[in-house]
């Protein structure tokens, strides 16, 4: 309906392969980004920051990471929570050991550390497949959480066993700690998400992405036509963990401020992220975001309606949301295995053909 593609033709391969081949999309994305970077910071307040925007950005990052591993490379992982913990503790250790280090670097390094751990736990994927692997990743989940609980070095021997982020500033503005302005933390996370979404897109549309998808779609054939399984799978684990690590680091240092592993990075987090990508759409970057947004907004929405509106007790709403989420997962797997992203694709096709039905 809004699309005017006629005359928007491609005379080079780079134009044909660009991320948004349709001019209209390029404009739309530009506008949205501009809005997110320029307008939102002025509107944002504590409530929006803490209960909607930061969660979305952080979980979006995690979903992106898991989607690379599960959606693109077809390796199911239930260790997301554990890897987020790695990111969190890495950022804690790094920033406490090197207080001067720029926070951007700290976050990135945390991602690096997680990537390394990810590779370690990815090794089994060469021998085992499908849900065997899923179970193997549970080992990562439980072992890591246990580790951070039991080894005092990780939490600097603090009495509570918790880790608490010291205040750190970027360009003189606090982005961690209690008195960091919402817009700053928001922009900080947004920057990471946007940059890494862009990188994810580039990776997935290039050689590496194709080798991942080849492994996902038919691993044997992939190896026979020359895709090295070791490289493909481990790179997927590395990149995925890198993203998840970053999200963990942001989650702890920017969002929570203080964390205790079993609470913050339990198995439930692993499932949360898995659900995000199932509902959002496996093998779709856009889907990762939609999924994250969905899973972040859903509880907020129902809390507001049921607790606020009908005055239900919170725990009951909690159970209700559990049911709802569980139901939705089954619903999507049955009705639209490719998630919300696919629904969007279909709608878009319709818009492009408007006024014709097909």
């Amino acid at each position: 309906m809004f699309y005017r593609e006629s005359g928007d033709f491609k005379s080079t391969y780079s134009a044909d392969q660009q991320t948004f081949p349709i001019k209209f999309d390029r404009i739309a994305v530009g506008v949205i980004l501009a809005f997110a970077f320029v307008v939102v910071p002025f509107l944002i307040n504590d409530y929006w920051e803490k209960s909607i925007l930061l969660p979305f950005l952080v979980w979006g990052m995690a979903a992106l990471g898991l989607n690379i591993l599960t959606g693109y490379c077809g390796q199911v992982s239930l260790g997301t929570g554990g890897f987020m913990a790695v990111g969190a503790y890495a950022s804690y250790k790094i920033t406490t050991s090197f207080p001067e280090l720029n926070m951007f670097l700290v976050i990135l390094l945390s991602g690096g550390v997680t990537a390394f751990v990810g590779i370690l736990f990815g090794l089994p994927s060469l021998r085992i497949k499908g849900f065997y692997l899923a179970v193997a990743t549970l080992a990562a989940q439980f072992f890591l959480v246990w580790l951070f609980n039991k080894v005092p070095w990780f939490y600097n021997y603090s009495a509570s066993g918790m880790i608490t982020v010291p205040e750190r500033t970027v360009f003189g503005i606090a982005i961690t700690g209690s008195n960091s302005p919402p817009w700053a933390t928001y922009l900080f996370c947004l920057t990471f998400l946007v940059v890494f979404a862009f990188i994810a897109r580039n990776l997935t549309r290039g050689r590496i992405g194709r080798s991942w998808m080849a492994i996902r779609d038919m691993d044997i054939a992939a190896e026979i036509i020359g895709v090295p399984p070791l490289q493909a799978k481990l790179s997927a684990f590395a990149v995925s963990s890198f993203y998840i690590g970053i999200s963990g680091a942001l989650f702890f240092s920017v969002y929570l401020g203080a964390a205790e592993p079993t609470e913050a990075f339990g198995i439930d987090k692993s499932f949360l992220v898995l659900f995000m990508i199932i509902i959002g759409g496996l093998g779709s970057i856009f889907g990762s975001f939609v999924g994250a947004a969905f899973m972040v907004l859903l509880p907020v929405l129902f809390k507001n309606i049921m607790v606020g509106g009908f005055g239900w007790p919170t725990d009951m709403v909690q159970h209700f949301i559990f049911m709802l989420v569980g139901g939705l997962i089954m619903f999507f797997l049955i009705v639209e295995p490719h998630g919300l992203a696919q629904l969007w694709r279909v709608t878009k096709e319709k818009l492009r053909l408007w006024p014709f039905p097909h």
């Binding site: 309906m1 699309y3 005017r4 593609e5 006629s6 005359g7 928007d8 033709f9 491609k10 005379s11 080079t12 391969y13 134009a15 044909d16 053909l353 408007w354 006024p355 014709f356 039905p357 097909h358």
Partner: protein, 651 residues
Amino acid sequence: MQNAESSPLDTFPKLLNHNARRFADRPAIREKEFGIWQTWTWSQVQEEVLAFAAGLDVLGFAPGDKLAIIGRNRPRLYWGITAAQCVGGIPVPVYADSVAEEMQYVLEHAGVRFVLAEDQEQVDKTLEASEHISGVDQIIYDDTRGVRDYEHSYLHDFAAVQKLGRDALAQNPALLDQRIAAGKGSDTGIFLYTSGTTGKPKGVVLTNDNIIITSRNSVEFDHLTEQEETLSYLPIAWVGDHIFSHGQAYVAGFCINCPESEETVATDLREIGPTYYFAPPRVFEGILTNVMIRMEDASPTKQKLFHYFMNVAKRTGATILDGKSVSAMDRFKYWLGNLLIYAPLKNTMGFSRIKLAYTAGEAIGPEIFDFYRSLGINIKQLYGQTEAAVFITMQPNGEVFADTVGVPAPGVEIKITDSGEVIYRGPGVFDSYYKNEQATRETKNDEGWVMTGDAGYFAENGHLKIIDRAKDVGRLTDGSMFAPKYLENKLKFFPQIKEVVTFGDQRDFVTAFINIDLDAVGNWAERNNIPYASYQELASRPEVLKMMEDNIRQTNADLATDSKMSGSQIKRFLVLHKELDPDDGEMTRTRKVRRSTIFEKYGVLVDALYDGSTRCHVKTQVTFEDGRTGTIEADLDIKDVEVFPPVEKTA
């Protein structure tokens, strides 16, 4: 190329050099290949063309030699045209779909020495043809696929020839300059063979001036600029394509786009979104039908929306397009419609960017014509011929009518002979028919007037109206003109009418045989649950006869407003009991009505039309699909139709 600078731009090689300087980095030609629109700028085209020209020279292509160009629209084939002219030779485009025999005739008649063939298929045909004729020395092919194992002594890969040329140019950069400079406007530019429906094709000889001057005039007439994009999908060998995709492109310096293949033309059209577009009426008709069919299975709401705004457009669209004023409300509605329907529609058709579209060749149905104009697509008609390098009349912006073909093109004079035939004179008038003096003299007299063979006249608004082939035009007993084809076309614009045969020459009034369109009327019958088993039965239904009568009355009313035609309103008609059929010799294979045959075969009916009887028995022989013959009998009702007194058109 200093000398090119000074001399006038009267040949294509000179124009090419000129453009290569003017528009060095502007796109000159594109082709959809390997998934993208491969693009060549004017300077690149210059390099390619000169390289090929030099290559031809190396292969011994001498001034005056003919280069046949056979294949669909592809850059290298277009380059071949100019390249041949660079060396002082004459390009002879040949219809790609012509069979070996036809090709053989053209090659022989034009005395072709070199052939530029698109691909294996064309090479094969050429080889087959050149077995029976002498003269074809060298064959150059564009697409190497499958040709690798051929005997290569006289076969050359286009790229290889260019290689030869580049080397030669490296030796002597000025190799071609002399010959290019020597070229004159009066030189023979190209042979275009008219696809002969009757008899052998005639080779129309056109000079550089013919093409370039008419192109220049038309470009100015329609204010075309180097910004235009156009889709080159019509046969290279057809004069239209030579003007639209070559002449005008070189003069205005705009970019032509070659589709990936015949099958993908529609998609390619959509991708390119031309600003300047030519298509024969049937193409526009096809697109419209397609739109309507696709709308059929849209949701009810969408359909409502669509029809509502299409009506808005019908009311105001064309007026707005002609720059006349409409009420603010209508303007708003149109704006809204454009947002919701027209623009998306144009987008899906590939007409989003269209500035100017032309149609010609046959009469176009008014409703089709209006559909496009109401969408804001500036579609116009022109009247032309190969012999005129296309343009005889054109429609100026703001004076576009469905039933006339416009005013004389710039520099063209038009006269109507006493016999009612249209004759013209102008810059585009062809030099001669190649090796056919007699035909030339028959068509072109000494003052350079050319017979079109079409009958027509100037309407009140000074626009030319073509009504029929001159030889078919007759007179009623009262002396007023009777143009059967004109009447028949008018009636055939009604979807329910498939064929019409009108009578009136040397008679008091006009009458008609009608063939209903079985699909359209059948559909209508089912919707109004009118039972019928066969064409014959349906044709004899009173409801159908009524419908036909209405259509004819409508036509008559229309005719009455036309001083020249008000005499040929149809007084009586009948609906034939069988469809006119080539198998029964009633039509040609190309579905043109054979008047004479029908006249004798159905004489009894014709008489009945004039002796005032209201019913008539007829018995005809028919040939069935399996070739057996049988007879069918029927009693046909003959209907009278109301006729209207002549009224002056309120223009």
